[in-house]
């Protein structure tokens, strides 16, 4: 097999060498990693549970307390510790985003490979489906879908519904990308050779095509992650989240429903929004850099300033002149 996979591994090492020097990529990785770490170590970095009501000296709920009254990020409208909510919210936001992103990646890659590799009516069918999905405005469709599934009483948790709906709607770009890539790879010699010696479809796809498109899929998935996280926050903001498992979007939903703005409670409505920007920006940076590295066409262009002429010393110049 495994020649192509080995190549893939070696490319990975090469990749890291180049990536190390890319400031935007490193920044993106930093943003994403810190968020993941926050989610993993949420219980360690917080002192209260996100659902605990912080109380004042008289035992009354301490609502909308600014950071200097209750640290580090104050309390929300229900007297919950905002920092704890933020840290535990990372778990929900990232889980939804990542799972949805992976579903999208999986479906998109699968359909893309099927369409590109087998072509024919299958290709046509899959591409027409993406055409249709591409023009249907996504948010209205999702709102209706989430509401419908929710109310069918299927005993699915609200978060699962969100994950499924986002994941099953955002695979089109991956599918198109993978398909076009598969189309070019399919024509290359080693595939033809493999086919000539009687290799099966699955073998060819697994050992020859997959290693080639893997980097592309990874880059695309990272980009989709940011979309998924944004969409989740939007749907949660419109009230379709799970209030018992607050994500950053749910926090914002509470913040706006419960008048954080009027209370000037910036510590309540800014952090979740910034956290969303943090992660999705991280994913976008990372994804763009990965894509750019895979697509080196974009590394320079013809109008990019002038080549620098390095003056050589006068003596050398005279020498040259003399010889000429």
């Amino acid at each position: 097999m495994q020649e192509s996979w080995l190549l893939f591994k070696r490319n990975l090492a090469d990749f890291w060498k180049t990536f190390r020097h890319n400031r935007m990529g490193l920044m993106g990785a930093f943003l994403v990693l810190t968020a993941i770490l926050l989610a993993i170590f949420a219980p360690l970095v917080t002192t209260t549970s996100p659902n605990e009501i912080i109380r004042d000296a008289n035992g009354r709920g301490l609502t909308f307390a600014p950071p200097f009254v209750h640290g580090p990020l104050g309390t929300d409208d229900a007297g919950h510790d905002v920092w704890a909510q933020l840290a535990f919210g990372a778990r929900i936001s990232l889980t939804v985003g990542f799972l949805a992103g992976f579903i999208a990646m999986f479906v998109g890659s699968l359909l893309g490979i099927l369409a590109g590799y087998f072509g024919g009516w299958l290709d046509n069918l899959i591409m027409r489906i993406t055409d249709v999905l591409l023009v249907i405005p996504d948010l209205p469709l999702m709102l209706v879908l989430v509401a419908a599934i929710r109310q069918l009483n299927l005993q699915i948790s609200p978060l699962t519904v969100l994950i499924l709906v986002i994941g099953l709607l955002y695979w089109t770009s991956t599918a198109r990308l993978v398909r076009s890539q598969v189309l070019t790879i399919k024509e290359r010699q080693f595939v033809a050779r493999a086919r000539a010696i009687g290799a099966g479809h699955i073998h060819i796809i697994r050992n020859h095509i997959l290693p080639q498109i893997m980097p592309l899929i990874v880059a695309n998935t990272v980009l989709i992650l940011s979309t998924a996280i944004l969409i989740e926050s939007g749907l949660a903001f419109l009230g379709l989240g799970d209030p018992t498992q607050p994500s950053w979007g749910t926090m914002l939903n509470f913040a706006f429903d419960r008048n954080a703005i009027s209370n000037n409670a910036w510590w309540f409505y800014l952090p979740p929004g910034l956290a969303i920007v943090w992660v999705s920006l991280g994913c976008v940076l990372l994804g763009n850099v990965l894509e750019e590295m895979l697509n080196p066409r974009l590394t320079g262009h013809h109008l990019e300033g002038e080549a620098r002429v390095v003056k050589i010393t006068g003596e050398e110049a005279a020498h040259a002149q003399h010889l000429g």
């Binding site: 249709v132 023009v135 209205p140 419908a148 419109l238 929004g273 969303i276």
Partner: protein
């Protein structure tokens, strides 16, 4: 492929897409739960079984969903009859038309501004790659892209109303309601400023990124080197050779982006209490007003399909490679 063939192909594709949208639209709304008759009546009503039955008949809900309801609905849609809104008790088409203009105004202004600025900024950012301008513009775009629409909207709402004293709801001040919009332009603009700004910032990032990568791609083409070798200045190359080539994909992408735009409108209209299709959609959803929701969904989807078709047609006129032969 000649232009005629291409157009016919696109038209067919659009028709197929439209049919699928219509079918999805129908099925999706039929599986939505809740008793529509109840929804018309509301919570606090005693109503006899006979009246309920007559309402069911009035809405055609007593017939089987397929094929009766499906085809009768389809036929009505084709004739522009989108039914009567259950909650507003007015023809859906009429409601939609009233809101459509508001949304078009909002989206149109936002789009024009952001396309113009996005194209210009993206052009310069791509051209002056890796300069402070590019890094700045790129950072702005990426952050804008990563920012939740509703969050930006609310922050601008808070800031704009407290610091600039801008109005926080609606399209015009109550005093100007009912007057033709062109007679109250200053008031209108004051109301449109914040929502438009929010939309523009978000699309601006999008278009800038698209234009930047488009111009980057074009500028690394050989014909740019040819133009430069001819002795043209960068400006001349940019203006005479790069711009048109880079603008071509923008046409298509702007149309495809309309779906994204519509999503933005739903958030923005909700935040700014702006009476457009977006807010109508959300209201219809919570009220389970099927005909209204269906109509709104249909209108949104069909506009995006039509816009795409229009872009395709426009494209065939702009790109000589399609035009001739």
């Amino acid at each position: 492929m000649s232009r005629r063939d291409l157009l016919i192909r696109k038209l067919l594709l659009s028709l197929v897409t439209m049919f699928v949208v219509v079918a999805i639209n129908f099925v999706l709304f039929r599986i939505l739960p809740g008793d529509p008759v109840r929804a018309v009546i509301g919570r606090n009503v005693k109503i006899s079984a006979e009246v309920q039955q007559s309402l069911r008949e009035q809405f055609g809900l007593d017939k089987p969903v397929f094929p009766d309801q499906f085809f009768s609905t389809l036929g009505q849609w084709a004739r522009g009859n989108l039914g009567v809104s259950w909650s507003l008790r007015k023809p859906v088409a009429e409601i939609l038309v009233a809101k459509l203009w508001n949304t078009l105004l909002l989206i149109g202004l936002g789009q024009i501004l952001s396309i113009f600025l996005g194209v210009v900024l993206g052009l310069f950012a791509g051209w002056k790659r890796k300069t402070a301008l590019d890094v700045g513009a790129l950072t702005f775009s990426l952050i804008a892209w990563a920012t939740p629409t509703f969050w930006l909207g609310i922050i601008l709402l808070a800031a704009g109303s407290s610091w600039l004293g801008l109005p926080t709801r609606g399209i015009v001040s109550p005093e100007n309601v009912g007057k033709p919009l062109y007679t109250v332009i200053p008031d209108l603009m004051a109301h449109l400023f914040l929502p438009t700004l929010t939309l523009s910032i978000l699309y601006l990032g999008e278009y800038m990124l698209i234009m930047r990568s488009s111009i980057l791609e074009v500028l690394s083409e050989d014909y740019i080197l040819t133009a430069k070798a001819k002795g043209m200045s960068h400006w001349q190359v940019l203006w005479k050779h790069a711009l048109k080539n880079a603008m071509l994909p923008i046409v298509t992408i702007v149309a495809l982006n309309l779906g994204f735009t519509v999503s933005g409108a739903i958030y923005i209209e909700t935040v700014f209490s702006y009476d457009g299709l977006g807010k109508l959609f959300q209201t219809a959803l919570t009220k389970q007003d099927y005909p209204l929701l269906q109509g709104a969904f249909l209108l949104l989807a069909v506009s995006v399909i039509l816009a795409n078709m229009l872009a395709d047609i426009l494209y065939t006129y702009l790109d000589p490679r399609v035009k001739a032969s």
